[in-house]
């Protein structure tokens, strides 16, 4: 589903050249739950941004669903991002003055769906995360865990096949983090591919595979699967 070959990302200023990713090779299969770990500044977020088409690689080839997406223009990247990719952020990134339904509706607005389709999808997703009765609440009226569940509903509303989560439990207490993790695991069990960046080794161990990024390079680590995660038939291999 996701294939990166020799992906490099270099940030240049007049004085400094920073190599965020160095010839990174990665293959993620459909339905996998990948945990991406690594120290701060190792290139995890850059990897996630490139995977989510928020940034273009400086070099290398990135294929998503068999299509080379590394050199697309903004309009094409935006369309693919809208149709195939869902994002979950550490700080939820809900729009404070929109209610929950309108927040979940955001990606659907760019999809061109009818109002009926959008309303149904928003309702379904909020029901899925257990907040169907609070559609008209503002984010500020929810706890952090509830806000993250809304963010997950938003990420899933357009039925993406690929979910990118950047420290999704980083701002939550352990109880809320567990709820969110279980939700992600159930989403993955339904067939959605998830790539999750995390600092937390316990969470990483619950993924089907771990990718460790260090100094912009990825290493695959054979991670014991968590008991409540269904093993996948095939696993991708990441190469340094």
């Amino acid at each position: 589903m996701l294939k990166m070959k020799n992906i490099s990302k270099v940030y240049r200023t007049e004085l400094v050249e920073t190599h965020a990713l160095r010839e990174l090779d990665l293959h993620v299969d459909e339905g996998e739950f990948i945990a991406v770990t690594g120290p701060s500044g190792s290139g995890k977020t850059t990897f996630l941004n490139i995977a989510g088409l928020l940034e273009s690689p400086s070099s290398g080839i990135y294929e998503l669903d068999g299509e080379d997406v590394s050199r697309l223009n903004d309009r094409q990247r935006s369309r693919i991002r809208n149709e195939k990719v869902g994002f979950i952020f550490q700080s939820f990134n809900l729009i404070p003055d929109l209610n929950l339904a309108d927040n979940v509706d955001v990606p659907l607005r760019y999809r061109g769906w009818s109002a009926v389709q959008r309303r149904r999808a928003v309702g379904d997703m909020l029901d899925l995360v257990g907040l169907g009765s609070r559609q008209n609440y503002l984010p500020s009226q929810l706890s952090g865990g509830q806000q993250q569940r809304v963010a997950i509903a938003r990420a899933l509303a357009g039925k993406p096949r690929f979910l990118l989560a950047d420290e999704p439990t980083g701002n939550l207490d352990s109880e809320m983090a567990e709820i969110v993790m279980k939700l992600l695991e159930s989403i993955n069990a339904e067939g959605t591919t998830i790539v999750m960046v995390t600092h937390d080794p316990d969470l990483a161990h619950r993924a089907s595979r771990n990718i460790h990024i260090l100094d912009g390079r990825a290493t695959d680590s054979a991670t014991p699967l968590s008991p409540n995660v269904t093993p996948l038939p095939e696993r991708g291999v990441a190469h340094a």
Binding site: T45, T46, N49, S78, N82, I95, V106, Y110, G158
Partner: protein, 440 residues
Amino acid sequence: MLSYYLRLAFASIRRTPVLSALMVLALGLGIGAFMTTFTVYYLMSGDPIPHKSHMLYAVQLDNWDPNDPPTESAKDVQPQITYQDGQNLVNADTPAIRQAQMYASNVIVVPESDEPPFDESVRATYHNFFRMFDVPFLYGQPWERREDEDHAAVAVIGRELNDRLFDGANSVGKNIRVDDQFLQIVGVIDDWQPTPRFYHVDAGGQFDDTEQIFLPLSWAIDQPLLPSGNTNCWKPPDEDLSLLEAFLQSECVWNQFWAEIETPEQAAAYKDFLDNYVRDQKALGRFERPLNTFISNVPEWLEVNEVVTDDNRVLVRLSFLFLLVCVLNTVGLLLAKFLGKSGEVALRRAMGASQGAVFSQNLVEVGLIGVLGGLSGTGLAWLGLRAVESLYRGYQHLVHLDPVMLTTAIGLATLSAILAGLYPVWRVSRLAPAGLLKTQ
């Protein structure tokens, strides 16, 4: 998506009320100042009789002092003619469809009611005046040629005077007492206020109200009703004649003269006629200066008389510069506003909004701010025009916002806001979302 973008724009304005209010105020002030001066300029420079302004010609004959500097253009010639020249022209067979000699005067109107007598403006003219200038009638009609010839005591009055004296009823056939004479009313004019009042732009009265009493010039001379406008003389009247007769036969200019001409060929023929008239008069010892005969249609006439002064033009330019300053300030405020919501923009980009979609969304918000700025500017322009009205005499017809000006104000404000917003909107749509999402 437009309705969605509008909803987001309203939400965004509510989110930053102070900043949004500052932008609306900045635009409103600029628009208000500009629209105030521009409205006055627009109404001053408007065509007061657009459907036939190119068929109506003011006549200038240069009977002035031969020792004066040479004439270079119509601006150097007196805008009025002598009574005698007016009489000669109006009685001649000319290529014009209609001609009218006229002058302004004042009378005391004595109401039949207990109301005390009051001063009223008068235009002494010919029956042709009304058809030539397409004056609308509420009741009755103009007097006829015969009544000009008979020096008849008839009058056409204005609606305002009719309301005052007859409570708005049809007063045709009734009498009106002016000074110590009675005039029979033959017609009542409906609301009629050409702006500028092109047929008599002399003596700063170009924006005055139209007169409320119109009567035959022949009758006015009999009384006599003396002119209330400018009277200019370059040599004293003949001392051998009676005072009135000397004045009427003098080289003093105090009559306005207009001709209605259909085609350029007729205009050329009419000009030839005037030239020949002046040559005839030269043979009689008058018109000692070179031949300087001018006919000017309404737009030309307003230009000759500099109805729109340079001061007005300077004011419009200055207020436009002020508007530009306001727009530049708005650019800064918009930049601050949009960069302040870069997090939301980044999120929308992550959710699939293209740069174009972000650009459109924010442009709608800018447009909304422009419309609000236009509305506030219209309100401020209204206040500005009230201030102009209270400061300057005769500007009462120049201080109203008509639908064209209202639309212009709102359109200009929206355009200004969009121009001011183009750079901030472009900047925010080009923000790299990746770096901003992490810092939310």
